[in-house]
């Protein structure tokens, strides 16, 4: 029995090393002199910040960080507001064609992005939205999946509360944002985390619609830095840029770890 326990924990620890050690290694590698990076061990002969200094000197990574915050923040706010509105209507209001509408929304969620991505780019060109925030934000402002999650959660809100609010003369928007939202922390966090993380990590769409360095989001800028020759094949600099890109998500994951795992498991969608 004891042997079995040891084997069990041994395997679990092995898994931890397998999934976490590469990141630990990466953090230390960004602090090593370039020559010492290709080593399995962590501790260098001396620590250096030169790779980070070079990243900040070569690319506008601070600006890209702000761009990413603006883009992901606007998309998340929009998805929370509009998806909860639709989710509220579809779960708590009666109107003709409601069920059909819900089926249609489920159907629209099945459309593969490969089908629309080229014509959507063409639309951005026609609207003169390329190289603007609009192209980065507006196409991502709605989420059928968010509607689905809100609708499901709102079905559990007691009818008596809504009735009482209506007697007090509140309209539907007031009921949603003043009465229902404060009761809906779990679903707001779930949709918020999923949306923010997906748009933070999105890189294909920014690569398509943005060419100006000062409008690039963080993953896009780091991608172009790493593959475009600006890093001059210096590993330390690339890894430092990659670490800066990962940092905000890692910090958020450290704080909301349980929510991250549960949101993504409940959604079964990945970024």
């Amino acid at each position: 029995m004891i042997l079995k326990r040891i084997a069990l924990y041994g395997l679990l620890m092995l898994g931890t090393v397998l999934f976490v050690y590469p990141f630990v290694w990466m953090i230390f590698a960004t602090l090593k002199p370039e020559m010492e990076i290709p080593m399995f061990g962590l501790w260098p002969s001396r620590f250096t910040l030169q790779h980070y200094q070079q990243v900040f000197a070569k690319i506008p990574i601070g600006r890209a960080f702000l761009n990413s915050i603006v883009v992901s923040g606007s998309i998340t706010a929009s998805v929370l507001i509009f998806s909860s509105m639709a989710g509220y209507a579809l779960s708590r209001l009666q109107f003709r064609g409601k069920n059909l509408m819900f089926m249609l929304i489920l159907f629209t969620m099945m459309i593969p992005f490969q089908l629309t991505i080229i014509p959507l780019y063409v639309l951005m060109v026609k609207l003169h939205w390329t190289d603007t925030y609009l192209a980065l934000i507006v196409p991502g402002m709605m989420s059928g999946f968010g509607i689905l999650l809100f609708r499901q959660f709102f079905q559990t809100v007691p009818q008596a509360l809504l009735d009482a609010a209506r007697v007090d003369g509140l309209n539907d928007l007031q009921i949603l944002f003043r009465i229902v939202w404060p009761l809906s922390r779990p679903v707001l966090i779930t949709v918020g985390i999923l949306t923010f993380m997906n748009s933070w990590n999105e890189v294909l769409w920014p690569l398509i619609v943005v060419r100006k360095a000062e409008l690039m989001t963080m993953p896009q800028l780091v991608t172009i830095f790493a593959v475009g020759g600006m890093a001059e094949a210096q590993l330390g600099v690339k890894l430092a840029a990659a670490f800066l890109l990962a940092l905000p998500v890692v910090v958020a994951y450290g704080i909301f770890q349980r929510y991250f795992i549960e949101s993504m498991a409940s959604s079964g969608l990945k970024g």
Binding site: L8, L12, G15, F19, V20, P22, F23, M26, I37, P38, M39, F40, F82, S83, M85, A86, A89, L90, F95, I105, I111, P112, T116, I117, I118, P119, L120, V122, V125, P139, M141, M142, G144, L162, D163, R166, D172, L173, M197, N201, L204, L207, I208, P219, V222, T223, A226, V227, K238, L239, A242, F243, L245, A246, V249, V250, F260, M264, A265, K270
Partner: protein, 288 residues
Amino acid sequence: MKVKSKNPAGYGLVAPYWIHFALFMAYPLIFSLILVFHKWDVYTPMQWVGLGNFIRLFKDDLFFQSLLNTLLFLVIHIPLQLVVALLFAVLLNEKIRARGFFRAAYFMPVVISGVVISILWQQLYSQENGVLNLLLTHIGLPKVPWLTSPEWAMPSIALMATWKNVGLYIVLFLAGLQTIPGYLYEAADIDGASAWQKFRSVTLPMLNPTVLLVMILSTIGGFSLFIEPYMLTGGGPMNRTLSAMLYIYKQAFYFNRMGYAATLGFFFALLILGVVLVQRKIVEQEPE
């Protein structure tokens, strides 16, 4: 007081979704139907080519190569993912301390951008200085040309993608395992079943729905494969890691062939829908 039976507010609250849908989904969908019959470089006027794009597609060896590459990725990625995820989920389902810690550790690569993962693994996979080859040499094995040989490159990318995504599937399997009622195992114990027999005849059949969910999700994910080959190999060596999405991207944005790229996207999307529908059919046929 009851909610009014016909509430116009309902339409108002759902309207933003549909307006957005009309502009950024329906319009591009309709426009793509026009685009597939044209040759267009965005800068000069569109040129009608009839079925030219489709004829070109069926003669395009490189596109079929990219479909095959994507298929090879899936064939390695999906079984590997299922086995590894199931193994760790079963381990985590034992009575252990610190389950939350282990679960969080395995899940870590899932939340991190594919861009970060690609830069990290480019070092790990490096032929001369990569940590993986250093380890292999250390234990007396020959170096592996992870990303530089046509045979190894796509399997290497599939291995990396599995490492990145498997945490999500561990969590899904763990949730599936926890729904299996304990009395099934008790009944198997009474029949004198071994641990392996219990796994084969109780655990696996009960996990069937999760297995299929994992298959569908990794299929959709695999069909979207883009940033990893874009960063690690650029589609090479010898186009062996050129994924379908990367090929469409190159046609559109390296060569400005919007009509042809839209045609490829159209065909590829139909293929994805077909595969997913077939998988769904299989799900529905499952007993339970």
